[in-house]
């Protein structure tokens, strides 16, 4: 185990001959030719695969009193039906799961899985599932967050953080803001619905599934089915998007595994798209209140952020206030997060959990405050930038260049030419507006391991349980290994997504790229040590690995020659030390947007977008840029259209498909530009890298809301910014 217990010094990595270069994806040819096989497409791995189709609860809360399956079981092709009451209550798979996935007669949310029908074919399973009849004893409940808000809004008990005397400082501030904001529930809406193929053999369970966190999935399956972890194998080589909803096991995996065990055959289950929104997880809706007090010169003296979000009992909701603790300076501070417990489907992590909706509100508030202060919103943010924790002056940021993001962005975007007065610039019937917002997201890292095999052919094989959910893991891990061993990128192959491989950090929380490359780096150094040992050299650092050769004081040998004598294998992992916690490791950004609002119809069309990111060393500017523009697209969705509308009478999302829950399409997205600051955070990882996958989303929607205000003079504080919010205030 390599301990990362002090900031990284100068190293060969800083040369960035391969790492940091714009390589196209090594998994690209497989993906563009349809040859990459996702979880539901594993025809070749097992014979006799049967198809499971879920039966879903149609109440938000209550108990199953009867389930009639006889008619369904008699349908053509049906092999068996496994019901939740017959299986009985099962343990919750993993700490991060909130809702039960299957088992027992209790229903805690709409579309909870309550049975799985297994048949020879998909068509037969689906038809039979529709014939299962269920009786419920339903319970009523409240599902309206707004009903809880008036009281919680004022409630400052149990703060997340309190520094100084917010109330007094706010009262004394010459310039004050106090507004409420709201964000709706969001759906991950990844393109590949959750899917699993499960197979039992000799008491061991193997699943091919679509999951971001192979290790968590293995732990979850082991605890659910009473197995030891080495009796479970999780394979997830390609994941068709996750955005958080595939961080933990979902019902597809439990249904497939349960049915496969009971029926004695491999079973595959894909969640039907109309089931995904209510059955799995969503980003909670939030109601937020922000108060900011400042001196006339723009220095913030008091800041408070209160939020309320929905969760099932036992869940964590959407902590929309946390980033506000670290983003801007100000002596007197108060942050409160309330949970609104209700039996809506499970709210849980979605890309940039907390920051995404928190910044949707905070960065509008900052815009409003700048206007009150008659300041440029860029300058106002720079005025309140900080290099130390606003809660503790002795705790520095490891590497923070937020102001530079703003100034670089302002320059590149031509910000000085912006419309100064709202509603002052037109292009025919289009009212033009420009907006800016800041971005903040933590830079976490987790233990991650890898094994490197230098093969007799001279090729290097990288093995780790890490997943590639579109993030570019295959490519950046290959680049890392190539960089450390001095091999061309073409000489490296990467195997991912298999719990039989060394345990990795997995993909989530924007920790994946930074952690997993550090793990491969550790394994790479271990392989160098092993090669040195074979060469009889004590100190691997005296060797130079370059162009496929290793060179020492007594000449050079090609790595292929060395391995010809037998595969050379090394395995190691990185562990991140406590020194990291004595500072704040985070990522920063600034988003700039120009849009048009049709003066009559109120339609919004984006014209251009720019993101400037400070995320440490960029491991691959091609894949990193894609992560950022993808986040920007999701931010456009959050700004303009995405809303998992809640039926507050029945407690579910009625519009639960991709026609009812709209995400951006090609036609919504304008020219996008991304600038990465040339930074390297020595406290982040040995490669000085941090994630960008979530940073790209943070702040985008607020930049659009601010541009809408700049275009029209109408301040909308409720998302999405659909036209009913401002239509009446546009010119007639």
């Amino acid at each position: 185990m390599m301990d990362f217990d002090q900031p990284a010094g100068d190293s060969r990595i800083d040369l960035s001959r391969i790492l940091g270069q714009p390589a196209t994806r090594i998994d690209g040819p497989l993906k563009v030719s349809g040859a990459a096989r996702y979880a539901y497409e594993q025809h070749d791995v097992l014979e006799g695969q049967k198809v499971g189709y879920p039966v879903l609860a149609t109440i938000a809360r209550g108990r199953i009193t009867a389930m009639r399956t006889t008619a369904a079981a008699a349908m053509p092709g049906v092999i068996g039906i496994v019901t939740a009451p017959e299986v009985g209550k099962m343990p919750k798979p993993f700490a991060f799961n909130v809702a039960p996935l299957f088992g027992g007669d209790e229903v805690v949310h709409y579309h909870q899985a309550i049975a799985v029908v297994v048949a020879d074919s998909f068509e037969e399973a689906r038809a039979a599932a529709a014939r299962v009849e269920v009786d419920y004893a339903g319970e009523t409940g409240g599902f309206d967050l707004h009903g809880l808000w008036p009281e919680r809004r004022e409630d400052a008990r149990d703060p997340v953080a309190r520094v100084g005397d917010f109330e007094a400082a706010f009262a004394a501030a010459p310039v004050r803001l106090d507004h409420d904001y709201s964000t709706p529930a969001h759906s991950h809406a990844m393109m590949e619905p959750h899917a699993t193929l499960a197979h039992w053999q000799d008491g061991r369970l193997t699943v091919w599934t679509s999951n971001q966190m192979v290790e968590w999935a293995r732990t979850g399956l082991a605890s659910t089915f009473g197995l030891s972890e080495d009796q479970v194998r999780v394979i997830s080589p390609y994941v068709g998007g996750g955005f958080g909803t595939k961080l933990v096991l979902r019902a597809d995996a439990i249904l497939a595994a349960q049915a496969a065990r009971r029926l004695g055959c491999p079973v595959k289950v894909a969640l039907p798209r109309p089931a995904v929104m209510n059955n799995t997880s969503h980003r909670a809706a939030t109601l937020q209140r922000i108060r900011i007090g400042a001196e006339a010169d723009g220095r913030i003296t008091a800041i408070a952020h209160t939020a309320l979000s929905n969760t099932l009992p036992g869940g964590r909701g959407e902590n929309a206030v946390d980033q506000s603790r670290w983003f801007y300076a100000g002596a007197h501070r108060l942050f409160v997060h309330h949970l609104g417990e209700m039996h809506l489907p499970e709210s849980n992590a979605m890309r940039a959990p907390g920051e995404a909706p928190g910044l949707m509100a905070l960065e509008i508030a900052m815009d409003e405050m700048a206007e009150k202060l008659r300041m440029d919103p860029v300058a106002f943010r720079i005025r309140n930038d900080t290099q130390v924790s606003p809660e503790d002056p002795d705790k520095p940021f490891s590497d923070r260049h937020f102001s530079e993001c703003l100034t670089r962005g302002a320059e590149a975007f031509g910000w000085s030419d912006r419309p100064l007065r709202p509603g002052s610039r037109r292009d025919g019937d289009w009212m033009l507006g420009w907006g800016v917002a800041g971005a903040y997201r933590g830079g976490p890292a987790m233990t991650s391991g890898a094994r490197l095999r230098l093969q007799p052919s001279g090729r290097l094989l990288v093995e780790t349980s890490m997943t590639d959910i579109g993030t570019g893991s295959y490519t950046i891990l290959a680049q890392t290994a190539a960089e450390v061993l001095g091999l061309p990128l073409e000489a490296v192959e990467v195997r991912l997504g298999d719990s039989d491989l060394p345990a990795s950090a997995g993909s989530g929380g924007q920790w994946g790229a930074a952690s997993a490359t550090a793990g491969v780096y550790a394994a790479g150094l271990a392989l160098r040590t092993e090669i040195a040992r074979r060469l009889g050299v004590n100190d691997a650092d005296t060797l130079v690995f370059e162009a496929g050769t290793v060179r020492g004081s007594d000449g050079a040998r090609s790595l292929a020659d060395l391995a010809a004598e037998g595969e050379i294998v090394a395995e190691d992992a990185i562990r991140f030390g406590d020194f990291r916690k004595r500072q704040i490791v985070a990522t920063f950004g600034a988003h700039f947007v120009e849009l048009g609002v049709h003066a009559l119809t109120g339609e919004i069309r984006l014209r251009r977008m720019l993101a400037v990111c400070d995320a440490g060393r960029i491991l691959n500017p091609v894949t990193a840029r894609s992560q950022v523009i993808g986040g920007m697209v999701m931010g456009v969705g959050a700004a303009l259209m995405e809303e998992a509308a809640i039926d507050t009478g029945r407690g579910f999302f009625p519009a639960h498909d991709l026609a009812g829950y709209e995400v951006p399409v090609h036609a919504d997205i304008p020219v996008q530009e991304v600038i990465f600051l040339d930074t390297a955070d020595a406290s982040a990882t040995p490669l000085k890298a941090k994630g960008v996958g979530e940073l790209g989303l943070c702040g985008v929607a607020a930049a659009i809301a601010n541009a809408l205000y700049n275009a029209t003079g109408v301040r909308v504080r409720d998302y999405p910014l659909t036209l009913e919010h401002y239509l009446d205030e546009l010119p007639a």
Partner: protein, 203 residues
């Protein structure tokens, strides 16, 4: 019932040996009103299949021919991941029954180019990083090729200003026509760049 299959195709041949859903029920395809025989010419190869009438063209490709490059993202015509070309026209294969395609020519992503021999559009998607998770990608590529053809065939779109003049290949036209293919990873700008590259190379 073993699926009669004229072509030696690895995975399918194996499946034919074990996938006998009707075995034991004695329902010969010809007598079963709920099954039909159909010949699909997929990527130039004819396949004779006897299918449950309910089988979509998408599931015939994915589950029966094991051509899993065409993706099931929604199964309801809301995402475009299943897009394939049928008799030269792109459609959502999830919203079409396989039995309605007897004699049709179907081109899937596998027919466009293999990982070892990518077509120009596939190469452009790699070069421009026009995808991330890869799940919508085959459908995007099928649409991308078709969109350029549709513009050349002078089919108007929602953003075509002058309906009586020849339609031009513009960014607005490409964006509008690609809008039936969702990409939640948000690779749209890169997909546009890839299509533009191919259009310019073809010009």
């Amino acid at each position: 019932m073993a699926i009669p299959h004229p072509v030696p195709f690895g995975p399918l041949a194996r499946r034919a040996a074990f996938a006998t859903p009707d075995a034991g029920r004695g329902a010969a395809p010809a007598e079963d009103p709920y099954r039909s025989s159909v010949t699909l010419t997929v990527n130039g190869t004819p396949h004779r299949l006897t299918l449950d009438n309910r089988t979509t063209l998408l599931d015939a490709l994915r589950e029966h021919l094991h051509l899993t490059g065409s993706k099931k993202g929604c199964d309801h015509g809301q995402c475009g991941a299943c897009t394939c070309t049928v008799n030269g026209t792109r459609i959502n294969t999830c919203l079409s029954l396989a039995v309605m395609h007897d004699g049709d020519r179907i081109e899937t992503i596998e027919g466009l180019g293999s990982a070892q021999a990518l077509s120009p559009m596939q190469q452009a998607f790699v070069a421009r990083d026009g995808f991330q998770c890869g799940y919508c990608t085959p459908g995007q590529i099928q649409s991308a090729c078709a969109v350029l053809e549709e513009i050349r065939a002078n089919i108007p779109s929602h953003v075509t200003a002058d309906l009586t003049a020849p339609v031009q290949i513009t960014e607005a036209e490409i964006r509008e026509r690609m809008s039936g293919n969702l990409c939640r990873c948000g690779a749209y700008a890169n997909i546009l760049a890839a299509i533009r590259d191919v259009a310019e190379a073809q010009a």
